[in-house]
């Protein structure tokens, strides 16, 4: 029963994909001047095949991935402890609230020129940009998470004499994880966006820069955009996979209820 259903879903998705591919191919073959810039799917796939053989794509992909991962990890290393500290006392939470709200609402791409000016088109610049922008969702969600830990759990840990660091590690940490992960999901997407943005706008080496450089070669450009799309999907998928593994305890009771 479940199996047939899953098969149906898969089949449906495959058909959608095929229909889209066919549409693309038709559009690419159109003689209309307005869509002449769109290459045929077959041409894009051929370009993609060529690219996969070269080291240029691998290098660019590697650069984009490292920048994103580095930025995201640093966001975690900064955001979670900072969130813990700001959540420690209501006064801290309330007084920091305004600054955080301001910082996280600055449109992310608007600050690229500033960082470019300060650091030039380097990976360091892209990583700094990511920290400046994607740390906020993690920070905010950590604060929410910590403040929403059931006080009864904390009392229990306290009554058994668990020292502060053990309470943080074994009670506050896991209990606030569902909130923190929401932040991580947002930050991961944001980090990739910023990496590609910095590469595209500021010329930091990576996939975005390659896309920019291949503007005159539409086949290649489309192939690279496809790679960027797949990268985004893979990242989102990886975060969700980790989340559903770590937070099974959180999702299952909800699903059962």
């Amino acid at each position: 029963m479940l199996r047939t259903r899953r098969r149906q879903v898969l089949l449906g998705r495959l058909l959608t994909l095929l229909a889209l591919a066919a549409g693309w191919q038709v559009l690419g073959s159109s003689p209309d001047a307005d869509v002449k810039a769109v290459p045929k799917l077959s041409a894009v796939l051929a370009a993609l095949g060529d690219e996969l053989g070269t080291s240029a794509l691998a290098t660019a992909l590697g650069e984009t991935l490292t920048t994103t991962a580095l930025g995201l990890v640093l966001c975690l290393l900064v955001g979670i402890p900072a969130g813990l500290i700001l959540a420690a006392h209501p006064a801290l939470t309330i007084s920091s609230r305004f600054v955080i709200d301001f910082c996280r609402t600055v449109p992310p791409l608007a600050v690229i020129p500033l960082f470019l000016l300060l650091m030039g088109p380097t990976q360091r610049m892209a990583v700094s940009l990511i920290i400046a922008v994607s740390v906020w969702p993690i920070l905010l969600q950590t604060i929410h998470g910590v403040r929403n830990v059931d006080p009864e759990l904390l009392s229990t840990a306290r009554s058994f004499g668990l020292p502060l660091w053990r309470r943080l590690l074994f009670v506050v940490g896991p209990a606030s994880m569902p909130y923190v992960f929401t932040g991580i999901r947002i930050s991961a997407t944001l980090s990739l966006l910023l990496t590609i943005g910095a590469e595209l706008i500021a010329g930091v080496p990576g996939l975005g820069k390659e896309i920019l450089l291949s503007q005159s070669v539409p086949d290649r450009m489309f192939a690279l955009i496809t790679v960027a799309g797949v990268l985004g999907m893979a990242l989102a998928f990886a975060v969700t996979a980790i989340e559903s593994r770590l937070l099974a305890w959180h999702h299952v009771p909800r699903a059962a209820a």
């Binding site: 058994f160 004499g161 668990l162 020292p163």
Partner: protein, 265 residues
């Protein structure tokens, strides 16, 4: 009364919501000897959980002090374990039952094998060996309550505080757990303070029953239970001494209600 009391309350009072707030407890003086079992009974909402949270060091009394083993406490003492009334919310939902029971044993210098042994023993004592690898939310309320009890037992406290610990289990299991508590208390020599609504239970378990009542709640009466030797569900509950105590506790609760409403009205 020459030994240091295991638990001592001196003029303990609690007022919620600052100085103008609601006074729940006033002038509670109570001294509990080592190895004693004391039950606290009283009407719902009278302040029993508040009292036990103060003894556990989880809540600062507004007035007075709590002494555990002769020293005034400001934080939960390590020698003490609490089974809270809201037991379901005290189990970590991300830990399996066995790990929940183990949590307080970690980091106190016990070898892993000793921890395993204690966890297994505590779970078998409450009849939950098969549930060790389940998550708390996969268990019924009564089973969760027994996990909370197992966790406290595995910790081997000197003072065990229990807030209506048997409220969610069936009568048969309840009787078994009561007897288990008596056995453990005898074997391990622990001091037990237990809150209950059930007058029979309070008399059956206790050396002394403390009746609290009124608004604010005071200690209304302390009923000594003069039943010596090993207690038994059938014979003890038919014992004339048991019945006399039961009547005395019941009437004391009744009286505290009348006087309470007189004060309140």
């Amino acid at each position: 009364m020459n030994a240091t009391p295991a638990v001592q309350l001196r003029d303990l009072g609690v007022t919620y919501g600052g100085a103008t707030g609601r006074e729940v407890l006033r002038g509670i003086d109570l001294s509990i000897a080592p190895n004693e079992i004391v039950c606290i009974v009283g009407h719902s909402g009278i302040g029993k959980s508040t009292l036990i949270r103060c003894i556990a060091g989880l809540q600062r009394p507004t007035t007075g002090e709590v002494l555990i083993g002769g020293t005034a406490i400001t934080a939960p003492p390590a020698t003490l374990a609490l089974v809270s009334q809201d037991y379901g919310r005290t189990l970590m939902p991300w830990l399996r039952v066995g790990e929940n029971v183990r949590l307080p044993l970690r980091g106190v210098g016990l070898a892993r094998a000793v921890q395993d042994e204690r966890v297994a023993e505590a779970l078998s004592v409450v009849g939950l060996v098969e549930a060790a690898r389940s998550y708390p939310w996969q268990l019924s309320g009564g089973m969760q309550q027994r996990v909370a009890i197992a966790r406290a037992l595995a910790y081997r406290p000197q003072v065990l505080l229990m807030d209506e610990p048997f409220a969610s289990v069936d009568a048969q299991t309840r009787a078994e757990l009561e007897d288990l508590l008596l056995t453990l208390q005898r074997d391990l020599g622990i001091t037990v303070v237990l809150v209950t609504h059930d007058v029979d239970e309070s008399v059956y378990l206790s050396d002394r029953v403390v009746v609290v009542g009124g608004r604010p709640a005071l200690v209304r009466e302390i009923v000594e239970v003069p039943i010596s030797g090993v207690r038994d569900q059938l014979t003890t509950k038919a014992d004339p001494a048991f019945i006399a105590c039961r009547t005395q506790v019941l009437s004391s609760i009744q009286a505290s209600k009348d006087s309470g409403s007189a004060v309140g009205g």
